[in-house]
Amino acid sequence: MSPTDALPKTGVLSPAFRYSADKEAFGSERPPRLRGLTRSELRLVFLRPRTAAMLGFLAFVPVMLGVALRYFHDGGSSGGGGGGGSMDFVNQVTGNGLFLVFASLAAALPFFLPMTVGVVAGDSIAGEAHAGTLRYLLVAPAGRTRLLLVKFAGVLAFCLAATLTVAVSALVVGAALFPMGDVPLLTGDTISMGEASWRALLIALCVAASLVGLAAIGLFVSTLTTVPVAAMATTVGVVIVTAILTGIPQLSAIHPWLFTDGWMSFGDLLRSPIPTDEIIRNLGVQTAYTAIFGAAAWARMTERDITT
C-alpha cells in the first residue's frame, strides 16, 4: 500500500505532496492532516494564473452589464412585460445599484459560472494525472479517498470564490454607476438596504451551492481520464447538453431531474414572504448529484490503476 521506496527526488511534486512530504509524512506513521492537505490544495487552485484569469473574467461580467445598462439602456423600452430573452431585473437595476448583484448572478449562472467550475473540476484529478504527479500524491500515505475529498474541497472553494467574485464586483460597479437605497422586492414590497445586503449574501451562497452538483460531476469525469482538457470539455459539455434539454418543452418530464432545474430558485429570496420549497428542493438536488457522482468518483478512484 505504501511503497515509500518509490519516492522521487524533487521537482515533479505537486504542492500537496510537497507539503505532506516536508511536514508530516516523513519520519512519521501518521497520515498527513486533512487541513494541511486542503490548505496546499487551495494554494494549488488559487495560485494558478488560469484561475486568476477566470476570476478576472467573471469580475468583468458585472462591469459589462453595468456599463450597458447605464449608458446604452433607453428606459422604458423593455417596459412592456419583457420579451423572451431579455435580461432579468433590467428595470430595477437603473433605479438601484444593488440589483446589479442579482442581475449579474442571474446572467452568469446559466453559463459563465458553470464553465469556469467545469474547468477547475475537470482539471482536479486529471490534471495531476497528466502532470505525472498523481502517483506521487498517493505514495504519501494520504489515501485515495482523502485525496479525493481534498480535491473536491478545492473545487467547492472555487465555486464559492467565483460566485463571490461576481457578486462583489457587481456591488462595486452597481454602487459606482447607479443610485443605492431601499430595495424593492419582486412582490412590490420594499426592504431596507441592510436587510437587502443580507439577502444578497444568502443569494450568493445559494448560487454557489447550485454549482456543487456540477462540481461533483466534473470531479467524477476527471477521474476517468488523464487528459485534463478532455475532462474540462466533457464537464462543460454536460452543462450545454443540460441547457439544450431544458429548452425542449416536450422533455418537461425529465426537467425536474436535471441539476440545473432549480438554479433560478435563488430569486425566491427576493420575495416576501420567502417561499422556501424550491430553494430546499434545489439544495436536495445538488446533494443527490454530489452523493451519486462523488461515490462514482470514489469508486473509480479507489479501483483504478494509477500509473501516472
Binding site: 419583457g82 430595477q92 420594499t190 488523464t226 443527490a288 452523493a291 451519486i292 457522482f293 461515490a295
Partner: protein, 359 residues
C-alpha cells in the same frame, strides 16, 4: 504513458448506483405534499352534507401556496417564455402565493423565475405590480362589484364556488373517497355532468374534512389523461396573514398607472378556472352573451376589438368547419363563424356548432 488494465466493473460502483436508485425511488414513490395517495379513514358523509359544508365554509383568513397545472392541449405559443402575469396561467405549471383576510383583503402573487406578478386588493384599492416591467397599476372599485376574488379564479375556493353553482338536476354529485392535500385530510367530492356533449368528464373538489374549505380542484376531460386543470394548495395555513401584507405602496422607481375602475380589474386569465364559466373573464367588459346552461354553457364573445384579434388568431390556429373555423383543445372548443362571431364552450364541436347556429 497510461497503461490501463481491463477488468470487470468493480463492486464499488454499486455504491453510486444504489444511491441513484434510492434517490429516484424516494422521489418517485415517496410522499408528496401535492399528490398524496393516502386514504385516511374519515367518518362517512353524504354528498349533500359535504356540499352544505363547502357552502358554509368560512376561510376568513388564509395564507398558502397554490399550484396550478394547466394542460389544455394548446399548441405552445411563441413568446411564452417572456410571459408574466395572469396570461401565464394558461399553460404549464405555475405557483402562486395567496393571502386572504376577509372579503375585502386579498393578495395573489403569480411567481415565475426571477419575477412575480402581484394583485393586491385592499378595501377599495386594487393594485397590480409586475416586477419584470417594474410597473404598477392602481384602481379603485365601485361598491357593489368589489369582489375581486370572484373575477380571478386563482384559488381552489373560487373554483369550488363556481362548481357549487352547478349543483342541480344537470349534475351528478357524489363522494369519491378520501385523500390528503397539503397535509390536511380531505373528502373528494365529484361533480359530473349528466348530459352528453360536455368536454368535461368530471370535476373533483378536495374538501378539508375539518374546515370544509376546498383545498384542491381537478378537472378531467372526456379525452382522459391527466387533468386539464389541477389547482390546489401545496401548503396552507388558516392563520391570519402578517400585518402589512395588504398595505401596498408602489416601490421607488416604478411606473405607476392610474386606471379607470373598469380597467383596474386585473386582466383575468382567459382560462376557465372552472366549468360553467368557460372563458368568461376576458370578454366581461362588454358583457358576453351566455347561451345554453349548466355544463353546456357557451359564451359568445362580443364583437369588437378583442374578438377581431381573436379572429385573426383563429385563422392561424383553427381548422375550417362548415360555417366557420374551429379551435379544438382538450377542455374548450372555440368557434369563429364566418359572420365574425366567436363562441367558446367546454362542449364538443357538434354541440357548439348547434348552439351557434341557433343564434
Amino acid at each position: 504513458m497510461t497503461r490501463t488494465t481491463r477488468r470487470s466493473v468493480p463492486w464499488r460502483f454499486a455504491v453510486p448506483a444504489a444511491i441513484a436508485a434510492a434517490t429516484v425511488g424516494a422521489v418517485t414513490f415517496g410522499p408528496s405534499a401535492f399528490a398524496d395517495d393516502s386514504h385516511p379513514g374519515l367518518p362517512e358523509q353524504t354528498a349533500e352534507q359535504l356540499v352544505a359544508k363547502v357552502a358554509a365554509a368560512r376561510a376568513d383568513a388564509l395564507t398558502g401556496t397554490v399550484r396550478i397545472d394547466t394542460d389544455l392541449g394548446l399548441p405552445a405559443l411563441p413568446g411564452k417564455a417572456g410571459g408574466n402575469g395572469p396570461q401565464a396561467l394558461l399553460s404549464g405549471t405555475n405557483k402562486l402565493q395567496v393571502a386572504l383576510d376577509g372579503p375585502d383583503r386579498q393578495r395573489i402573487g403569480i411567481m415565475s423565475d426571477l419575477a412575480e406578478y402581484n394583485v393586491i386588493h385592499n378595501g377599495r384599492d386594487v393594485w397590480t405590480y409586475d416586477s419584470r416591467a417594474h410597473a404598477v397599476t392602481h384602481g379603485t372599485f365601485d361598491h357593489g362589484r368589489s369582489d375581486v376574488a370572484s373575477l380571478v379564479p386563482t384559488t381552489p375556493q373560487d373554483a369550488a364556488r363556481q362548481l357549487l353553482d352547478l349543483v342541480g338536476p344537470t349534475t351528478d354529485v357524489r363522494v369519491d373517497g378520501t385523500g390528503r392535500v397539503a397535509g390536511h385530510d380531505v373528502y373528494k367530492l365529484r361533480f359530473a355532468p349528466k348530459a352528453q356533449g360536455s368536454l368535461i368528464a368530471a370535476a373533483t373538489v378536495f374538501v378539508d374534512a375539518k374546515t370544509g374549505v376546498p383545498l384542491r380542484v381537478t378537472v378531467d376531460t372526456v379525452k382522459g389523461g391527466k387533468p386539464a386543470i389541477d389547482i390546489g394548495f401545496e401548503n396552507v395555513s388558516y392563520d391570519k396573514p402578517a400585518a402589512g401584507t395588504f398595505d401596498f405602496k408602489p416601490p421607488a422607481g416604478a411606473r405607476v398607472e392610474e386606471a379607470t375602475p373598469n380597467e383596474a380589474r386585473p386582466e383575468a386569465p382567459g382560462t376557465p378556472g372552472t366549468p360553467g364559466t368557460p372563458a368568461a373573464p376576458t370578454g366581461e367588459r362588454a358583457e358576453p352573451g351566455l347561451l345554453g346552461e349548466g355544463w353546456a354553457t357557451v359564451v359568445e364573445l362580443p364583437a369588437g376589438g378583442e374578438a377581431k384579434d381573436a379572429t385573426g388568431l383563429l385563422g392561424k390556429l383553427g381548422k375550417p368547419v362548415p360555417g366557420g373555423t374551429l379551435i379544438n383543445t382538450r377542455l374548450l372548443n372555440v368557434l369563429g363563424t364566418d359572420s365574425g362571431r366567436i363562441f367558446v364552450g367546454a362542449v364538443d364541436a357538434d354541440t357548439l356548432q348547434r348552439i351557434a347556429a341557433q343564434r
